[in-house]
Subunit: 227 residues, 4 copies
């Protein structure tokens, strides 16, 4: 079995748990992602709530990440989500250590290793150059840099603080050049995405600008327009 | 809209995340629950992984609880599960504060109140008489007593420590007589269930004895046989 | 050995870890507490950082609570604080479940029971009437009601929301009349303290208004002035 | 002000919170550390409970680490321990991310940076080669490798799994050669310490074998005997 890979550049949309991304809302965004992906040829992946992993893959044939996976073996755990459960639902990977769900280094390492062994993708979130470097040393598929102060805001990291991106890209190159970097936090337009790619990253991780949009397809179309 | 209620006695099976309860395994148990429920007329409810909430309701018409719900409003939370998401999937209630997912009192109260407002059932887990009393004061639909040392074992709480059950039933009666008590931990036979009911509780919360059974229907049939 | 008790009304100052309460700052507040306690005859207790428990008792002979205690037995725990360590330092009790350090119900119960067995006082913090009721069921010495939205503010709970106080006092009386209630959050003047006592509570739990005061003795003198 | 440094090799004893290391017990161990340090010229540092930081420095003039420090600014935090509080007590550094007190990568980075800015030493604990590499990328003064399965046991990591030590030493050298490596877990004799140094580390982090010894000075004397 050969490992999963996704074509670069990647637009990865974290649906979080907004009112707009629960239940039927997730389908609305998945339809938009399918449509814009077909038009543009750009890979758009989604990270929905656990119950929407399978329906989205099944109905829209979109690459799906879990938002989180618990670093536990299957067993007597209540309310936890072990890797085989997200894999069985059809996820091709998982976000790990999002700023809204921080993990210990030991647990991140466990997740990255387990995802690799399961031929799944890991996208580990970092918050600055130093933590990007540390996390790249664990050898995940992606590190997504999301300075917490910019998450959900109107200012993208590529505008507000391009040095954090270039610094991270350099640091990752020195530590483990097979790790891909994504730009996160505040991404809301085609220009942001273009800048992110020009700064050396292989795509973007974003959330609210797509999820809370009245017309998600219009926003996605704009995001990929300059690639 | 009138509040959800379940007929007493109740057999509530927490599927946790055993290898046997992931993906197809959940369906195997749901089929057994449907079958034994039909034969016996006893209510058998399941608490599966999040992704199995909707399929189980849809295919087997079984009352389903979430294993956990996060005490957050929908919004910018990654990897969390707000109440509207489990409700939208079809859950009629949620376990709260399982010994494998402890919450603060403030968060338990938030969950119990939110579930009540959403016309859903709350089943709060306690570990001894004192905590049963405290949790009953929050007015949930059910308190399930699970002494942690007996969880997953061969000895049921009704055999090992009937005083914890009768003490809890008395305490709950004094605090808030509308709260129903379930007996948890170590339940594995019809005799355990019968004793649990005779001690004054309105059913059982159990997990491994059903989930890990080669023939879940046979076990469920035994569990309800003396009711 | 007879159990520790403190004279009512009680003024309990949580020093938290403000710049003003670290190191020498703690002594400045302890001196003020000693002075005003001597003048007024009112019991003023302090909850300082762990390293200041013993120096404050030793130098100022003031009743001292820990801000937190970990519900663990002495043993292989790093960075944790078991009960025998705060007792050995001279604390007569501990805050439990402060809104800035929430615990599970099982852990609160463990702490309350362990403090009682060690002849020490427990002061459990709650956030509304429902949680006050639940926590009173555990039989601590004190429940301190601190609606989180008022903590650190200029508006005291006795002005902003007297019903939460009277409701809590009534609820506690019904559940366990030996539990004493303290009023917390936003207490900053003699009037607040007087109102708190008139509403049926046996004192106050406060922090920033004393800790951040230029002249802590002046504030403490005002706080006890109408008792 | 020039940064704190400690002479190599270093024997760092984590007192944890054993019955034997609470209160007077801490003094018993400090006396032994003073005595053996004087005899041998080897640096022996201690990581006691917070309340023993100042007394141990004051009475025994021993370099003291905190067992943990909270990655928060001084302020409205109850039961937390910000850096200025341990510094004011006299600690020259802190353990960070011990396996018994795991932190997120973001918080470890915050602690390492804050300790460096305060001219204090950071000793970050890792659990395998991959996490050692990741943590070395944050540039702490020390990384202490403690495979969790060996902590508190009779088998030292240098006997059980020397590859984890040599692998970590190599990895650290490639990432950041100014980071010093300590060997942890299961260290109990002079041979263990000698092997640890021969494998390229600059000392040991240990706990139970000293703390629970009837005669801590005898054990410490043995530990440094082959250096």
């Amino acid at each position: 079995m050969k490992p999963t890979t996704l074509k670069t550049p990647l637009v990865l949309v974290n649906l979080k748990c907004y009112t707009e991304s629960i239940g039927n809302g997730a389908h609305r965004i998945a339809r938009a992602a399918r449509e814009v992906s077909d038009e543009s040829g750009i890979t758009i992946a989604l990270a929905p709530l656990y119950m929407d992993i399978h329906p989205i893959i099944h109905h829209y044939d979109i690459p799906v990440f879990a938002q989180h996976v618990d670093p536990v073996e299957p067993g007597a755990h209540t309310g936890r989500m072990p890797l085989p459960a997200i894999k069985s639902a059809g996820a091709i990977g998982s976000l790990v250590n999002h700023s809204e769900y921080r993990l210990s280094v030991a647990d991140i390492e466990k997740n990255v290793t387990a995802l690799r062994q399961a031929q799944m993708l890991s996208c580990v979130c970092s918050n600055n150059v130093a933590t990007t470097k540390a996390l790249a040393a664990l050898g995940p598929d992606y590190v997504a840099i999301e300075p917490p102060e910019l998450i959900g805001g109107k200012m993208s990291v590529s505008e507000a603080n391009p040095e954090i991106i270039t610094g991270s890209v350099d640091a990752v190159r020195n530590i483990n050049s097979s790790v891909k970097v994504l730009t996160g936090a505040g991404i809301h337009s085609g220009t942001c995405v273009k800048t992110a790619v020009e700064l050396g990253t292989e795509g973007v991780l974003l959330a609210s600008s797509v999820v809370k949009a009245e017309d998600p397809a219009a926003i996605l179309r704009d995001l990929v327009s300059l690639l």
